[in-house]
Amino acid sequence: MKLVLPAVAATTTLLSPVLAEARQVTFETTLKNYGGNGAYVVLYVTDASGAYKGTLWMAGGKAKYYRHLSDWQRASGGRATEIDGITGASVGSGKTLKITLDLADAMIDAGYKVHVDTAVEDGMDNPSEVVAPLAASASGKPVAGKGYVKSFTVTF
């Protein structure tokens, strides 16, 4: 999956659409074997002050369930325009969601953080179960989530 970042690009001047100043970043989210229906997983970015900057990816297509991703919902306002064109299928138990994006160099090591909210039908809602810095030093180091995320790795 190779994408520019339309939502982020639309909301911040820190991102350059010129790919020469961008870097390819891979986000790999592996879920635990929680044994339920597919999980809704959303990846989004906040800045150093905690303010929402944009959504990277929404896994799960039915808007009526988005309110269970409560931190994302609150931060982004849950608007359809936030995830226009960056929506995919929900992620099954034990499966891995891998997305690769071109992120502007200026976003790295600048205090930005990636949040992961997850939710499963008849299960838990896990707002911000992972909060990982967009830092070169954290590249390739898996972190565990509090809820359904077994490991989350950002690789530059």
């Binding site: 044994g35 339920g36 229906n37 297509g61 039915k62 808007a63 009526k64 309110r67 409560s70 299928a89 008849d122 299960g123 838990m124 809602d125 509090k146 809820g147």
Partner: protein, 735 residues
Amino acid sequence: MLRRLHGLPGIVLALALTVTALTGAVLSVQPALDRLVAPAISAEVSVADLAALVAARHPGVSAIRLRADGSLTAAFDDGDTRGVERIDPATGAGLGPYAVSETTRFLTNLHRSFLAGDAGRVAAAIGALAMLGLSVSGLALLARRLGGAGALLRPIRGTPAQRWHGELGRLAAVGLLLSSLTGLWMSAGTFGLIPEAQGTSPAVIASGGAPAPVGTLAGLKAVTLQDLRALSFPDPADPTDVFTLVTADGERVIDAATGATLALTPATALERVNDLISMLHTGRGAWVLGLLLGLASAAVPVLGVTGLILWLRRRTARPRITPNVPARMADTVILVGSEGNSSWGFAGTLHAALTAAGHKVHTAAMNDVTATHLAAPRLLILAATYGEGAAPQSAKHFLPRLARLQGRPAVAVLGFGDRSFPHFCRFAREVADALDARGCPQLLPMKRVDRRSAQEFAQWGHDLGDVLGHDLVLTHVAEPPKTAPLVLAGRELYGEAVGAPVAILRFQAPSDPRTGAPGRLPAFEAGDLVGIVPPGQEKPGDGMPRFYSLASSTHDGVLEICVRLREGGLCSTFLHALAPGATIHAFIRENPTFRPAKGRAPLILIGAGAGIGPLAGFVRANAAGRPVHLYWGGRSAASDFLYEHELAQHLAERRLTTLRTAFSRDPNGSAYVQDRIAADAPRLRELMKQGAQILVCGGRDMAEAVTRALEPVVRPLGLDLPTLKSSGRYVEDVY
């Protein structure tokens, strides 16, 4: 057209619909089970009370929910432990982790998506749409068959498959309509076709003060636990965060420090509709309805199988007509108006016989009538009647079309119908009148065939042959019957002395030649018919089977018939000459309309001569001691009193309540069965008041005399025989 819309799509979709319906039926039991195990929630407890109890055990509680299945759950993250737990609503104690069972999850996914994601959800939605269409078209077909929407609850007659399909279908239709409509609505919601109520949370400003104990918050105290849907707790790290409390009537935002209700967003009408529809579909919160819907769904596989049987039968019943001469070259055109395909079978026989006699014959459906058909010298019309005298499927457009066309061929109209319906062959009559009115010369007066009688059809063929100046033998066998061998086990002969020999013949299934084990009789009941093809005519299409009413049921272990010897009668001569141990080949034809109605209402059995057979069978089967009154007429008590000893036994055992006999050659005064009826009028009237059913079996002359004698009996009650016939309280088996 309606039938085509109902039949083939039903067959094609039956398997998928069965999966959806059966999983739905299994899931429908869940709300009732949940209700049994879910602890009762007291009206005294407020949301604040319970939240305080839960928060005391789980400092990291993030949400409390009262789920649709009735269980109260709390989601928590206490640092070391986290999860979703079931909560006792009275004490707030944990009842173990909340998890939907793997089986339920599997069944739910199979039910809503065939385990195939969004594509499966689309398929399930199409299935729901199909179920809706099948329910509506099925009800419309049934209403048409029974004679209008007001007649939808009348008894359904016909073969077992027809009765099961109709009875179950009309019972299940209401549930299936509800399930499919609500299912479609939910599918539409899933795919975003129904606008989501946009939860535009009002901008509120929390006091930001130190959080008060949750049990003291006024906004939470004001709502009882019974009304709770969900309560989400504020993020402890964010002092400006608030409680969100969802109930059926809306969403409240509650300040964590002051307990004040900062905002109330009432539930929109759409949200309420969604809630209602979800309850109607799943039965959660309406467990009785859920079970009823489950029962309706469980009928779907049965409807599928019986529907397939009916469809196959209809398909195979329509014969290939060859050679079908082009209409413009034909000297004889046969037009067929048929609802099922049975009239086509008769048309095929007629077509073949006329072709064999050297005619150039063209056969077509009545709906397809053209000027070319009317230009032929001869037009033969075979028309069934449907429901309350309506035109059958393949003849609906005939009369309007006929009015626009030219041509006056010589015509003969043959109507097919059921004498027990009030409008026997009415459509055929209309067609005959219309042809008469346009000045078509009549080859033969219109004739009516009762219940596909091959004999009456053959008689009409004979008359037609006379008009055409050659022999015309119409031997119609509706379906080449599969015969089973039967061995004559015993015979009793009556009436020889009075010139009316009647034999009671008892047959058994042949025993296994190797093991000697007794054979098994086919399934039949007293009043059904056994078809016997006289020997030397067994080849298909060669001989016409003779039908005899059965005096016994499979249960009795013998197949018993009464056969009157007829002069020159091939079959009766053959049967009378049979020696014990001899084998015949026979098949059963069901006669479901000629049966005692269920219940304990009295039965009035009327017969003469060999017609006593099935009546004696009904008496024999009356182990329950229901009131049964038998009227029977013979010639001489000394010679042809059939079943004399057995009936005396039945009287003693109360299987038979009263017996009235009449003998036409009694030296002490000749009498007929209708005389006994006339003399017993007050008693019979009393029985009819009690809801009695009349069953008549015997020759046509006797049946007509009985009808004349019964009319004055029932008239003072405000009843008449046509009404009794159409409601099944007067049934006859007449030959």
